[in-house]
Symmetry: D2
Subunit: 340 residues, 4 copies
């Protein structure tokens, strides 16, 4: 039986997809982005995730994205390839194709649109677990897709050795503890990854192996640093970085339509992401420009970019209460809207 | 300005897709099913809806389904073609194609997976409304997709004459009243259709124009009769039929994974639907067989099929309280699970 | 067995409680309000409901409210007295006391704060049903209290003849149909009342016996008229009144903290309600004043009050789109906030 | 300005209330329980919390509970007294009374039954903050009461120095981080306590000061040990204790009506709790007996009690998969039912 040493660990970047002026995949920029992420120390790449807007691409485009990322990575870091398609048969075809491309594993979100029962979620992944040629990571994101509950994860892990990990984006720490307790005794090689950057440090401390964290596509230096500080037990420093990461994460996640905040922030790091495929109203474009300015200040505090023209609030100086209130209120309103 | 007389009205059947033993579209059975539905008086057909499991087919299969239904219908009844694809550009391509096939209108569900804000839902449909060559029905199903709220429907109806209707599957009657009040004064030609069979009669009475009702794919005679009785003001009779329809609807909707209950019931009406594309556990198959027996009794009460071998509870006879309790509890548990 | 003729029917007003300048029960104004409601044709009164803010009064005050209402009514109309207290024993004490005061029945909300399972909700009402000296109306308001599901209503109605009715404020019409189907065959005397004014007409048409409707505390003439038009089958007229009632109901319910909108509107009808017991921020007081002006225009359209100084938008005139949008957006935002 | 050194810290026990055979407060047993808890090292007591079923007692009984606990404690540990009453005036009266009894602070839950907006929650606590003679802990439990959001906590902490802490039972770690970031810079003396035992260790690690944890009323030794191990940085040991605490917490919380599981477990520790005030069905009593046996095995593993007659599954031995599955499924079903 494989042991803990074979687990997927570390920070996998759920990477964004740059688009050109016609809205098509911007291949050269995607290749440049892959290099930049690897250079900054992310442990792996995770194309075709939610951050990568997999549902907004065609079947052919999704395959093209993996081809480009795999080719550019050239084995420097492992790749976790999002492989969910319209049904089991199509998903298995994607698994086979990505296997031939040499990726480390695929990640498959639970069926979405329809809200399936645990029995159906099990049956879906069982069919995949039985037939996949490549290791599979379950992807639990109850905000968007049918939830994968603890007994389902337990049974899948016991019955299908090709199912080797779960990425959980619920952000619910007791839930993660329950999964680890249910699975680890029988599958020491099974890996637990979190997609909720706002709780990365505490999740690592209670037993997670790593994360697929959208912030690592924008500030890979910070996400990686948080991972390293936490694992080396420098908790006071880690706590401060975790707080900073919450501020960044909230700004990018809650003040615009996901993943536009992350796209705007990656643009500030020097990438030409283009316009996303989900249309925006003129007001939303104005809001995104304002968010971009706020993000620029946050990034400049860490030396990742210059301050915007006109400058930023001086850290330590008494901040404008009204402005901060407005941001906090927006965040809270969005949290509510999304049922978080 | 077009008036009320041009509205889409009546019962549109969101038809199921028969699959053959290999899981492929069973064309001859689909053609036979189309004829059967038209013969039983449904006012229109609605392929590629939620009941038609549009998300479980490939792009090519979705087009093939519309081709078959349009060809077989041959203009006898209008067709509302589900046209949602991965993004605006792909959706517009589907609109153009279905326009060339001569369907009456398309129906487009709000973006799903990601939960979009009203501004984004507006921007999405505005892009479509601006560029579609064919009339568009908005499709609001908040249980599965981003909700389309009242101000969004109002603005879309005012700004895009190609947007001509909304299908609402929320089942929320005050919500329907609010939409009608917000839209009708400026758009007397705009049509309001409900997808919630359990409230068809009261929704027609407060101003709806019709429905896209999954029950009409199984018992088109009953759904059509309810529509006719309600419109002709025979309310005491209509109420009884509505109650029967709730019993049928609940049995098909809540005691198995949607739309398997409807598929099982349509099989009892003589169609070879095959196995659905979402895998089932052995327990689920047993449950579906038990449901099928219950449905057969319900259908035989109305003369639509023979009783199952072994017979049914005699109507009027004291029923087995335990069995009924079990059904009621299942329904209630399912209602809760789905957040209804 | 009692038959349908003994059912509670008609419109019961869940009456507001006027407070004096010290925040105490304003007895003379409450007496004047009771007379006014009875004069305008409501079929019954329902003190100590949610509209009457029962949770914000002490045990002694709740009793005092019933004493005053019962004394002032003097048998002219039946009274449904809210009797929920801290636990079964205290609730039974209230039942006994209100019984001695001669009220027609009590209404008891399911336990709140803790979210109880159906088994516990049943056990709670069973204990009451066994020991109450007075008829009991179950009160289902899942937004605020533990839900009372269909099997629970069915079992309670079968086992306890003192349980004679349910008031349901879910506004869910199929749910009401399911309850009626489950209960009526065995209990033709059992009454179904709705607390959701926005769906009063369709609920009466599918079989409800009446309502406990907060709008009837403000515009008893309209609520009563809607009831009469619906029961006499004048559906085109009823529909128009139902639409108007939705506009009024939404304005009072969703643009301020419940039941402040109803209190503000009752003040416009000439009653001195005083300030509610839940404190308001200065901004909320300004908002309530603005709402009061909107309500005054709505009421003046029906001749119930003068227009506010400065006048109202002329009906039929093109309304200010921005202002209406703002109201609609507020309503929608509130609907979302409340999870409706 | 007071500094971090004055913060409330440590484990406060939200203690249960023993009832005698007539269902009245069992004073001598409550006194014995208080001594036992203090002897086992809890840092403080928290009577009249949710675990103490404050809503099921009368005003007089709630005061009597604090009198007994305060008298028995006699200053050995600080007391946090739940003080929520029907309205602001009544709540302030309770604050004054408990102040005279010498408790350290009161805890006040946000208004419940009605779901209030943030503005109203602020107005409610502002009125209290302005007039209280005693330090106040805000109590946020969004599952049962109106939520207290981050900007509300921030503004209350800035404007009212008598508001000194928040107890948060959401279990949402990023939410706790957001609160700490919003409040600490201006109020280093403000304390953050968690009520969600299943995440106690990670919450302490990201900056919480302590907890009001129901498990400490049953296994004060374990909760205290987890606190000590975490604060002293012995994380590998702490993690194991946290896992054990999740198992215990889930068993007591999710397999019976809250807080009956905690009452059953405290009985196993030797206290005569009596029957709770919320009635139970016969089936529920059987379930509770089965739960009690499971709990006895869990407690006996830690040496807190003997094994039940018939013994327990031997740790390490292959457990009965079906039985465990059943427990896990129950827990998961309950989690879903409660919307967790």
């Amino acid at each position: 039986m494989p042991g803990a040493s074979t687990r997927l660990t570390g920070i996998y970047t759920p990477n964004l997809v740059p688009l050109d002026s016609r809205g098509e995949i911007f291949e050269s920029e995607l290749r440049r982005y892959v290099d930049w992420l690897i250079d900054r120390g992310v442990h792996g790449l995770y194309p075709n995730g939610s951050t990568g807007e997999f549902t907004r691409f065609t079947v052919e485009e999704r395959r093209r994205i993996i081809e480009i990322v795999a080719d550019q990575t050239a084995g420097r870091v492992p790749i976790l390839a999002g492989a969910a398609e319209a049904n089991v048969k199509e998903t298995l075809r994607a698994c086979e194709y990505y296997h031939r491309l040499g990726v480390r594993a695929v990640a498959i979100v639970a069926p979405f649109y329809y809200k399936l029962s645990p029995a159906s979620v099990y049956a879906y992944f069982a069919e995949i677990g039985k037939n996949t040629p490549i290791d599979v990571t379950l992807y639990n994101i109850p905000l968007f897709a049918s939830p994968i509950d603890v007994p389902t994860v337990q049974k899948l892990s016991e019955n299908f050795e090709k199912i080797v990990a779960i990425k959980d984006s619920s952000g619910d720490i007791p839930h993660m503890i329950r999964m680890i307790m249910a699975v680890r005794p029988n599958r020491p090689d099974f890996s637990f990854l979190t997609g909720w950057d706002a709780a990365l440090m505490p999740l690592l401390l209670i037993g997670c192996d790593g994360g697929t964290n959208a912030t690592s596509g924008v500030v890979p230096e910070i996400t990686r640093k948080l991972y390293d500080l936490t694992l080396s037990g420098r908790l006071d420093e880690a706590r401060k970085v975790q707080y900073d990461l919450v501020t960044l994460f909230d700004s990018m996640l809650f003040t615009s339509e996901f993943p536009n905040g992350f796209r705007a922030a990656a643009a500030l790091r020097g990438f030409n992401l283009g316009e996303g495929r989900q249309p925006m109203s003129p007001e939303q474009k104005v809001d995104l420009a304002a968010l971009s300015r706020t993000l620029q200040c946050l990034l400049s505090e860490h030396g990742f970019t210059d301050q915007p023209v006109g400058g930023c609030p001086v850290p330590g100086q008494v901040p404008d209460r009204g402005e901060i209130d407005a941001i906090v209120r927006n965040v809270v309103a969005e949290l509510k809207r999304r049922g978080v």
